[in-house]
């Protein structure tokens, strides 16, 4: 009887395994394969010509160089800002942490073209910052935003919430005693931070940094806005130029460049693995929200002041510019009472059907995507952390690529892959909302996978073993032991998926069909038609909508914490 158990267990695992492999192949391998295939094809069939011509082009190399600068530079900024904010929120006794957290998310949910625009205005020669600088001695000038530095700066600011979100939970889970052990060993606060806290927080930092890395690779809005005037090309804009150039071979060239970009993304994955190689499980802890560094009132005030000025600068600059543009009657008018009206809001909310439809569509899409990613991503993360085999590693690698590809390229790949998955058979997915859903899952699954891997890396195997000798290895092990311990990390991942899916633009802009317009598209359409006032008004509504969702979520989370996790004695 026992013998048959042994066999059945193996059998079951096989099924799950098969389903998993099938899922990955269909959702990830297929589109990527089509893309790679395209990069090797020409009218005459298989060829290396695309590569030779692309690689011989001098501007390709210049573009790659720029891309590396931008990606590495902005990732470093994102990582540093992310760690700093995460540390302050996780460890110090500053007040209003919830509110601070909200302000940290804001740059992530404000559309990046607004952020970019706001920063260029803020930094312009007669903008606010220049006026501020002129008060100081010396002839300081604000940074030129239409430059590499400008792109790096704005991108770093837009991506640091990724690092923050994945790091803050990890920091809270590091047992206090590990740092105390360093402190009794005589190391100062800074040394123990550097030698103990930082390496132990690596799972979060590396995950967040990796996501920031590939997010910068795929980012199109910022380099397009700042790079075109500065004549700075990065891979994402270069690929776009190839596609819209509409020459012969334009797709093939774009595919070839995308493969190069994919290779850079893989390098990111490898760097991440290198970093994580040495990282080992801590003893498992729940999130410890008690502050560890109790600053005196005065010091605390200084830190709070610094932090709040940073937060206000990074959120209020774009937010205010967005708000004021949305309240003005016509673009370019000064922000004075006689020019203020709510007519833009009225138009967006009442007269324009699409805005409301898109809110619904995007919310639905984002929620379904999030739920799906939550389950699949956490499952994959579990396999990845418990059974680190070549297979599960390749899995992680492949899942990361769609997030790094420029949205346009991914959308094209989705069309290739899904219109007729098998030549001659059209399953009728393309042209419906299903294709958006699939594309979103393909694109954003990595966010959840990283979030969940980070969470699992903080769970010591003995925790699970204890559940298993206590007789549970299925639903209850997950529900009562694993989930409660990983939930903060998992929620961080889900939050990222939700927020990015909600305002997704580039993929949707090729894949939507009438009736399935999304928030990003509506904003984009207004913008393209020259109605910036409408687009900002709608953006404001979206931000408000997200804030409300946040509020709701945090209330739900409280309820979950209270009901399900700690006092679930019912079954």
């Amino acid at each position: 009887m026992l013998q048959s158990f042994v066999h059945r267990v193996h059998h079951q695992n096989k099924w799950w395994f098969l389903i998993g492999v099938l899922f990955v192949v269909i959702f990830f391998v297929l589109p990527i394969f089509r893309l790679v295939f395209l990069s090797f094809s020409s009218e005459g069939g298989f060829t290396f010509e695309n590569y030779t011509s692309v690689l011989q082009d001098r501007s390709t190399w210049k573009t790659i160089e720029n891309t590396l600068y931008v990606v590495v530079g902005s990732s470093i900024i994102a990582i540093i800002l992310g760690i700093m904010t995460a540390w302050v929120v996780a460890y110090t006794n500053i007040r209003q942490k919830k509110l601070i957290q909200l302000f940290i998310f804001l740059p992530f949910i404000i559309p990046s073209y607004i952020t970019t625009l706001a920063w260029t205005q803020f930094m312009s020669k007669n903008g606010f910052f220049a006026n501020l600088l002129s008060l100081l001695p010396g002839s300081l000038e604000p940074m030129n935003m239409y430059s590499l530095q400008g792109i790096i700066f704005v991108m770093g600011l837009s991506h640091y919430p990724l690092v923050y979100l994945l790091t803050v939970g990890v920091l809270r889970k590091i047992p206090r005693d590990l740092e105390y052990a360093a402190r009794v060993s005589g190391s100062s606060k800074w040394q123990s931070f550097k030698n103990i806290t930082l390496p132990l927080a690596l799972p979060g930092i590396a995950s967040g940094g990796f996501l920031a890395f590939i997010a910068s690779l795929d980012n199109f809005g910022i380099p397009a806005f700042l790079g075109i005037p500065g004549n700075i090309r990065v891979l994402s804009t270069y690929i776009y130029e190839q596609i819209v150039g509409l020459g012969p071979n334009s797709f093939e060239r774009a595919a070839t460049l995308s493969v190069i970009l994919g290779l850079i993304a893989l390098t990111g994955t490898f760097i991440q693995w290198l970093l994580l190689k040495k990282s080992k499980n801590n003893e498992t802890a729940v999130e410890d929200k008690e502050p560890r560094f109790l600053f005196s009132k005065r010091k605390r005030l200084t830190i709070e002041l610094l932090l709040w000025s940073f937060l206000l600068l990074t959120t209020m600059v774009p937010l205010f510019s967005m708000l004021s543009a949305s309240l003005i009657k016509a673009y370019g008018l000064p922000f004075t009472p006689e020019h203020i009206s709510l007519k833009n809001y009225q138009f967006v909310l009442l007269e324009n059907q699409k805005a409301i439809t898109s809110l619904k569509n995007s919310a639905n899409l984002a929620i379904i995507t999030t739920i799906f990613c939550l389950v699949a991503g956490t499952g994959i993360a579990y396999v990845r952390t418990k059974k680190p085999s070549i297979l599960s590693k390749s899995l992680e690698m492949i899942i990361g690529i769609p997030y790094a590809l420029p949205g346009t390229v991914l959308a094209l790949a989705m069309i290739f892959a899904w219109m007729e998955p098998i030549p001659g058979w059209n399953p009728g997915i393309y042209g419906t909302i299903m294709i958006l859903l699939i594309a979103y899952v393909t694109r954003f699954l990595i966010l959840q996978v990283r979030g969940s891997i980070t969470a699992f890396m903080q769970v010591d195997p003995s925790i699970e073993e204890a559940a298993r000798v206590s007789g549970s290895n299925g639903f209850y092990k997950w529900k009562q032991i694993l989930l409660p311990l990983i939930i903060p990390g998992v929620i961080s991942g889900a939050l990222l998926v939700f927020l990015t899916a909600l305002t997704e633009l580039t993929v949707s802009s090729l894949l939507w069909s009438s009736g399935t317009e999304t928030i990003g598209l509506v904003i984009f359409n207004f913008e393209q038609a020259g109605y910036s006032t409408y687009s900002t008004a709608f953006s404001c509504i979206v931000v408000l909508f997200i804030l409300l969702a946040f509020l709701l979520l945090s209330i739900l989370q409280k309820l979950w914490d209270r009901r399900v996790l700690y006092h679930d004695h019912s079954n």
């Binding site: 026992l2 410890d288 000798v469 206590s470 007789g471």
Partner: protein, 357 residues
């Protein structure tokens, strides 16, 4: 539950943590595993639990192979309980929930436990003297209290095989005594087999039906407490369990001439042939006597340690250091020249009580 370990080997990377392990655990038997730090006790226990699979060899439970190189039966299907050396408490659950968890989920739980779950939780909590701390979270417990929770969680569902990895190491003597009693009682009542890892030989001697002495990944000796204590078959067991001084000398039949001194002859009837083969007489500290009476081995007191009810002397004899325990009747000081005798009575007494416990 009968369990057999057959030719088991476990290798971590290039390190051989277990070699050629063969062991039978009978139904209802209390087996203590004794050995120095790092000898492989925990590793062996984890194989029994089903967390790891052996590199080679097999584990058999109830006549069915549950683990070999290829596959293994997962822990939840094995009807076991385990106290982890590192406790492995769930940081998000309070004490009461820790104990309720196996009661809710253990797949071999008896009907009456299923019905009286809350009663059982209270009972076990009282058993480990943690009743008043039921609502505490692990982070709010002291080291010993954590260990007691780990113990309570393991015994609550009355599994057929209880694996305990140093379950009492963080407790004070008093509490340890009472826990020992509870474990023994549980053992008697449920008839569970128990595998009890400890580094404390008095615990092993006091509780076990069978003691397994391990060293460096191999089993040195298996036997009843008495066999292990009085008739060690290897120098390691003699010194590790009995703290015996391993005295070199010459054997002639059952007679022993320490340091080949023909003037002194000790009766070694109870010494095993294995040790005789190695020309060793294992003299436990309390088997020797220090006095000023000539005729024994001559030595010098080099260290004195007060131990409350007795005194531990270190005596240097022919460049070797022997430890001898004396009661408080006579006193010696460092530097004094003394003579060492084998207590006659000891050997006889041991023989006498062999039929006893």
């Amino acid at each position: 539950m009968t369990t057999q370990i057959k030719n088991v080997e476990k290798i971590f990377g290039s390190f051989r943590a277990l070699q050629q392990i063969n062991l039978d655990i009978n139904e209802g038997e209390f087996v203590a595993i004794l050995g120095p730090s790092g000898c492989g006790k925990t590793t062996l226990l984890r194989l029994l639990a089903g967390f790891d699979s052996p590199t080679s060899g097999e584990v058999v439970m109830k006549n069915q192979v549950v683990a070999d190189e290829m596959s293994f039966l997962p822990p939840e299907k094995r009807n076991i309980g385990m106290v982890f050396q590192s406790f492995a408490l769930w940081p998000h659950m309070n004490v009461r929930d820790h104990i309720r968890f196996p009661l809710k989920h253990h797949q071999f739980l008896s009907e009456d436990l299923k019905k009286g779950m809350d009663f059982r939780v209270d009972e076990v909590l009282k058993m480990v003297d943690m009743y008043h701390l039921g609502e505490r979270m692990p982070s709010e417990l002291s080291g010993g209290q954590k260990q007691r929770v780990a113990l309570a969680r393991a015994i609550a569902p009355k599994p057929a095989l209880l694996l305990m990895d140093e379950p009492l190491s963080s407790l004070d003597a008093e509490l340890r005594m009472s826990m020992r009693k509870e474990i023994q009682q549980l053992h008697h009542l449920t008839g569970a087999s128990i595998v009890y890892v400890t580094h404390d030989q008095s615990e092993a001697l006091a509780m076990a039906d069978k003691i397994v002495v391990m060293n460096k990944g191999i089993i040195e000796q298996v036997g009843t407490p008495k066999e292990i204590y009085s008739s060690p078959t290897s120098p390691f067991v003699a010194s590790f369990v009995g703290k015996a001084n391993l005295i070199q000398g010459k054997w002639e039949g059952t007679e022993f001439y320490p340091f080949h001194q023909h003037a002194i002859k000790w009766d070694g009837t109870s010494v095993t042939s294995e040790l005789r083969g190695e020309n060793i007489f294992p003299a436990r500290p309390e088997q020797l006597k220090i006095s000023f009476r000539e005729g024994g081995l001559k030595g010098v007191i080099t260290n004195v340690q007060y131990q409350g009810k007795e005194i531990h002397y270190t005596v240097t004899i022919e460049d070797e250091q022997w430890v001898i325990h004396q009661d408080l009747d006579a006193m010696f000081s460092i530097g004094e020249e003394v003579y060492i005798h084998l207590k006659e009575s000891q050997t006889r007494a041991v023989k006498k009580q062999l039929h006893f416990v």
